[in-house]
């Protein structure tokens, strides 16, 4: 490995003055910005200050000896800088780029002084924000986006209730997050390949946008013979070959490195398409997330990582998940272009995804989008209140002008009662005031593209279709027993053939032990 030094003649004298000890050095004002934090920093999520100066300086004098490093720019630098006067003509040539030397001992700050801002197009009232950079969405697409969001919301409500009635075994809603999947899907083409979130499963909106029917959703949730997954996975593990939507699997973040491999294939084939993969804030703690970002950057793969940071990984708040400024800064650490977007703003998500797609394909590079789903500053003690059921009609109200980020309004899944770990009034607050559908509705309304009659017609139809879809799906028989044994391998090996025979004999002897199947 070639590492060598380029040195100039006039380097050393000005910079190295071995005079005072380390504590003298620490007293130099120019170092303080690196170690001190702003105690009111918004990144201190739980109110504690995590940015205290590290204590290891107390015993590190042996490391640095008695030499004092002094900079000609001492006292003036607020941010970490690398261009330190005449010193840059000494540099370290290293695979990956030249690194200049500096006489200043500066640790990179653990965070930039300001948090990365969140891109917004619409304010809470659905008005366009002045000077916002965006591409106009035409009426047809806007109405389709809105209708799809409402349909998704209705589907969530009805399937959720169906689960509560015991008609399906499990469900998980996207309520509060509809804008993300649907707006991002609207900014893509059908050729773009989707690897959906495997932890929160909140991307049915992408499938809905692409034309996966309500009947197809119901078939999967019921695990009947018409389910493409042959009844093998829990509800909401959708997948559709014809919609370029890879089948969801449960383990967290495993789809991320796979997305890079799939994107590499598109790259090699010279396709005018990219891969889009979704994950949550909790998923960013997985090793696979880091592997994937690094691989994507190195392989220059056309993949868009969309992180849905909704504040919670089941019951764990992001303050217990990471200490960085969210996910967006991690992209930069891996050399990936990244942006933070307001997840309650359908137009912002649409525009960011559209721009990301353009970059990913034309420049053959990965892009990271953190869709920020904010959290309230105060956290109240948990109240034990009965399970919240979401009535779709409630979600149509809403007029508040607070600065809003999205939020997981629903429980993590039907196996979860989130009122056990977060206050009901917090949920209600988000449900009522920080709703992405309501905001988008106001914008669509404002354009004269939608009215109350359209609304009630859409909701009524969606409800009718969904109820019908569930009833129809319930009538379809379960998949045949042979589906238990096929697809383990392309061709069924002898051990499985033998096991199927034995099982069929057992069923004949004890039919009462088994559900009836073909």
């Amino acid at each position: 490995m070639a590492i060598w030094f380029r040195k100039s003649i006039n380097v050393s004298a000005n910079y190295l003055k071995a005079k005072t000890g380390l504590w003298g050095l620490l007293n130099q004002r120019h170092l303080s910005p690196c170690f001190h934090s702003n105690s009111s920093s918004p990144t201190s999520l739980n109110g504690k200050n995590y940015r205290n100066p590290p204590s290891f300086f107390g015993n590190s004098t042996t490391l640095f000896g008695s030499r004092r490093f002094e900079s000609v720019k001492a006292g003036r630098q607020e941010e970490l800088r690398y261009d330190n006067g005449g010193h840059q003509d000494q540099a370290l040539d290293f695979p990956g780029g030249t690194v200049p030397f500096t006489p200043e001992m500066r640790f990179i700050s653990e965070a930039s002084r300001e948090r990365i801002p969140c891109y917004q197009v619409l304010d809470d009232n659905g008005n366009l924000i002045m000077h916002s950079s965006f591409v106009q969405v035409n009426k047809e697409d806007a109405v389709k986006m809105y209708s799809t969001m409402v349909t998704l919301q209705t589907m969530d409500t009805i399937f959720y209730e169906a689960q509560r009635q015991g008609r399906i075994s499990f469900y998980l809603t996207s309520i509060g997050e509809e804008a993300i999947s649907i707006s991002s899907a609207a900014a893509l083409t059908p050729e773009d390949v989707i690897l959906a979130q495997e932890t929160q499963y909140r991307e049915p909106g992408v499938l809905l946008w692409r034309g996966f029917t309500l009947q197809e959703f119901a078939n999967q949730c019921l695990g009947n013979k018409s389910d493409y997954g042959k009844g093998r996975q829990m509800p909401i593990h959708y997948g559709s070959n014809k919609h370029n939507y890879f089948t969801v699997s449960s383990p967290i973040a495993t789809q991320l490195p796979q997305a890079v491999g799939a994107a590499y294939s598109l790259k090699m084939d010279g396709k005018d398409a990219c891969v889009v993969t979704y994950f949550g804030d909790g998923g960013s703690s997985e090793g696979d997330f880091h592997a994937a970002l690094n691989f994507a950057a190195v392989m220059e793969a056309p993949v868009i990582f969309i992180c849905r940071n909704n504040g919670w990984a089941i019951s764990t708040p992001v303050s217990e998940q990471f200490r960085s400024d969210g996910i967006v800064v991690k992209g930069q650490a891996y050399g990936i272009r990244s942006i933070r977007v307001d997840g309650n703003d359908a137009l912002a998500v649409y525009n960011a995804t559209r721009a990301a797609r353009e970059m990913a394909i034309t420049e053959q590079r990965p892009v990271l989008i953190e869709v920020q789903l904010g959290f309230l500053k105060h956290t109240l003690l948990t109240l034990h209140i009965p399970i919240l059921t979401v009535d779709a009609s409630e979600l149509r109200l809403v007029v508040k002008t607070e600065n809003a980020l999205t939020y997981r309004v629903g429980h993590h899944s039907t196996s979860d009662d989130s009122t056990k770990y977060r206050p009901v009034d917090e949920i209600e607050h988000w449900k009522m005031s920080r709703n992405p559908i309501a905001r988008f509705r106001r914008w669509v309304d404002g354009n004269g593209w939608w009215n109350d009659k359209d609304e009630s017609e859409l909701r009524g139809n969606a409800r009718k279709q969904l109820l019908h879809a569930i009833q129809a799906a319930e009538k379809v028989e379960k998949p045949p027993l042979s589906d238990l044994f096929t697809d383990v391998y392309e061709n069924t090996p002898s051990n499985l053939i033998q096991q199927e025979e034995l099982l069929r004999q057992t069923i004949q002897r004890h039919p009462q032990d088994y559900p009836s199947v073909e």
Binding site: T254, G261, S265, N294, T486, E490
Partner: protein
Amino acid sequence: MTTTTTTSLRRFPRFDFVSKFTATSCSSSRRGFSTTTSSSSSGGSCTEYSLTLQQQLESGSRGKSINLFSAINQALHIALDSDPRAYVFGEDVSFGGVFRCTTGLADRFGKQRVFNTPLCEQGIVGFGIGLAAMGNRAIAEIQFADYIYPAFDQACIISLIVNEAAKFRYRSGNQFNCGGLTIRAPYGAVGHGGHYHSQSPEAFFCHVPGIKVVIPRSPSQAKGLLLSCIRDPNPVVFFEPKWLYRLAVEEVPEQDYMLPLSEAEVIREGSDISLVGWGAQLSVMEQACVEAEKSLQEGISCELIDLKTLLPWDKETVEASVCKTGRLLISHEAPVTGGFGAEISASIVERCFLRLEAPVARICGLDTPFPLVFEPFYMPTKNKILDAIKATVNY
């Protein structure tokens, strides 16, 4: 030791198998997605460019004597040459790999098809799954099998192989698959590898429906089996006996040929006891067989079987052999408890209980971490096997 092993390995290729293999895989769906294309692929066109080893030999096209890593290298050249959608990647593969298996590939096929990856096994496997799912042949190299295995505690590679690769087809109802994925990894003892360059993790993978596990015993086997694995429409873990990379030398046909998966091979016929093994251990077992025949006055006639594919494995061949001999000995380097020998033993007892004349013997690694200076003690050596052969026959 070196000479003995090499000589005995040279004796291995009997090439008496008639291939039942009808190349099922090579024309399978370009895009792993399509149910229709993949189901219509059986009986594809592999045979056009891929002869069996038997055919190669019958046509007199014996190749040069080469070692095992060169045979792997030939197979990879052929795989990349015969399929423009094949890729080889892993840590340090660009310059040829730490065991030289990928030498010359990047020069010939370009760095877009043969490339280094960042140092991250879960990334390599995950990337490979995604690449394969798009209809490519993704040939991933894990530098040492030992680095598949510590991934256990990070739940990464194992998770990716067990939960992702293995279930890709099943969980999607055959809408998607990653059958083009082959994970290559050197495994096993090497004389000085200690804990982390010696292990045999095959049993872990044999507990996972949906993947295939294949281990070759010699250069010609390695080439033919690897090409089968790469072209098989299922994800395969291919363990290469690193001890044999340079040590094992035999004639290997230069052309493209494939050897059948899930078919065991009787590489030495006998009547008193059946021995089952795979990979590098077979050479040790064969030495024990030779001595067993010489040692006693009457001689013990040993039948030696190379399992080759551990999952799904060829029970019928082992069963037929044990029904003939009435005795079974299994030997592998991995620790005896929970090793794949236990599975073979249980299956054969189920099938051949009344034919067995002695308990099934297992001569395997000890239930300790793989040791460095104690390696000679840990290993299932020739004399341990020989003693067990005698004890079983005289039970």
